[in-house]
Amino acid sequence: MIQTSLHAEAALACKLDERSLYLRRLVLGAVRSAGRGHVGPALSLIEIIRVLYDDVLRIDPTHPRDPGRDRAILSKGHGCLALYALLADRGFFPLSELDGFCGTDSILGGHPEYGMVPGVEASTGALGHGLSIGVGLALAARMRDRNYRTFVLLGDGEINEGSVWEAAMSAAKHGLDNLVAIIDYNKLQSYGPTDYVLPLEPLADKWRSFGFAVEELNGHDVGALRNALHKIPLAAGRPAAIICHTVKGKGLPDAESNADWHHKNKLTDHELDAIRVAVGDF
């Protein structure tokens, strides 16, 4: 618990570098264009997804279905703006698509869809599905003697779902050390604090007791994320859980740890001014 609070404090204090600010500008530009979007859940995820796509995943944007690629599933599909920003920046589709976010004919919906968005491995949005799909992908890799790895990004509110723990038991049963659950632990779900809605602590111990090798870290610390994700597998024969202490709405002082920014409709001029001060002009 002491470690948990230290990481949480570090997440709050963590300074963002220019790439993190740039990616936030992409996210917020899409929200401005669409007049809607899950802002808080995307901003807590940016560094996690950034490190995955910049440094960890073996992927080729020009061959998004390459059989040898690493698989990544955004199980908390409502954080899709962060994923879209990274996929666009990495060249899976043009950056201009972000301006059409949630438009009638856009490929980019309010939750990511397989077959619509290059680089998206599974349609998510209904919570508690991604880890089970990830178990299937990871088991398939083992059965076929393939060495791709499977990463599943989960929200903290999402792991209220019992299906997540069914999947966790299964992952441990099969000894899937090619499977990584990454938990975006921003401690705030739609209604309010996770501690109030459905307490998760002791979260690291829960994952350990389900048979996972666990790391906890500040989920906005790019270096710490790189170090942890480069160590995969954390333990031979065991799936990994990386608990990332994050701040919902990270990078926007008005939005940080503020449940009102879970989903945002039209941004006001005042809010847009505050965003420019925080992340730069966009």
């Binding site: 397989y114 349609s123 089970s132 178990v135 992908l137 990871a138 299906s163 069914e166 038991m169």
Partner: protein, 319 residues
């Protein structure tokens, strides 16, 4: 029928390395021979249906063809969102083998009686719904499942059902089978109502009523073409199903006829279970009998309906 379908999974697995058996917590020894021959492709995953469906989706994304097997109610009610999102939205070739469709588990009560499964599975885009009538037909169906695109819900009956399907009719998913040539009446059946319909047709013949039978083993996609051919010249179309009245075979047939025929609809009689949970136990047969789905009750209901004067279609007025 269940043993036949299970053994077919083993046979298909021997032929095709994509085939997996995934059970939740089936009876001891289920597919033991397969578990010995192909231990890596015989997976027992625990009482975690929501997870099993998601895991099967992941395996299917990587090219496997998982055959997921548990009791029908658990495979439909418990994990409906996973079936809808993980299987149907992604249109993945996962086969759901549902033990105990309808009232097979009558003595175990309403938690185990799958009385609305056809409706809720049929409502999902991309889902195929098949209800074989007997073990031989189940075997012919299973042969077709290897390369069928998208998910399939297979509603199995108990086992020991009289074999009435015939090899010479062949089997194609989505192609209804004319079991008796249409006469004054056409009965449309699915699953084990075929046996009851055949017996009822004999009873009706003794009364001078010629009753044809169209076996609609595949409820979705519905074979509308064969249905439209079969109703020609009949005075009454009767649907028979071991299912609540909403959303099942009767609904599917009525919807198709409305869509295709508009105002020129034939008279219809839908025979089904009532719109309520069963609070009786006994056996599949005793509950079917209780709800008017035994052959003599079916024949009597048809006789009553067939003797009613058929109201002429109202004239159409243009305004």
């Amino acid at each position: 029928m269940r043993n036949t379908a299970m053994n077919m999974v083993h046979k298909l697995a021997a032929r095709d390395e994509r085939v997996l058996y995934i059970g939740s917590d089936p009876g001891a020894g289920t597919l033991r021979a397969m578990s010995r021959e192909f231990p890596r492709r015989h997976l027992i995953e625990g009482i975690s249906e929501a997870h099993i469906i998601g895991m099967s989706a992941g395996l299917a994304m990587e090219g496997f063809v998982p055959y997921v097997n548990t009791i029908a109610t658990f495979l439909t009610r418990r994990c409906y969102e996973q079936v809808a999102v993980d299987l149907c939205l992604h249109n993945l070739p996962v086969r759901l083998i549902a033990n105990g469709g309808g009232l097979v588990y009558a003595p175990l009560g309403p938690t185990h009686q799958a009385i609305e499964d056809i409706a809720i599975m049929r409502a999902l885009p991309n889902m195929t719904v098949v209800c074989p009538a007997d073990a031989d037909e189940a075997a012919r169906l299973m042969e077709q499942t290897l390369d069928w695109p998208g998910p399939i819900y297979i509603r199995l009956a108990k086992g020991g059902d009289a074999v009435v399907s015939r090899a010479e009719h062949g089997f194609q998913i989505g192609r209804a089978i004319v079991m008796r040539q249409p006469g004054d009446v056409l009965m449309v059946t699915t699953g084990i109502m075929l046996q009851r319909a055949l017996a009822a047709a004999d009873l009706l013949a003794a009364q001078g009523i010629r009753a044809g039978i169209l076996h609609m083993h595949t409820v979705k996609p519905l074979d509308i073409e064969t249905l439209l051919q079969a109703i020609r010249g009949t005075r009454l179309v009767v649907t028979l199903e071991e299912h609540v009245p909403s959303g099942g075979l009767g609904s599917a047939v009525a919807e198709a006829l409305i869509d295709k025929l508009g105002h020129g609809l034939p008279a219809m009689l839908r025979l089904s279970l009532p719109d309520r949970f069963m609070h009786n136990y006994g056996s599949q047969d005793s509950l079917l009998k209780m709800h008017g789905l035994a052959p003599n009750a079916i024949a009597a209901a048809i006789e009553r309906a067939a003797s009613l004067p058929v109201a002429p279609s109202p004239p159409l007025h243009s305004t």
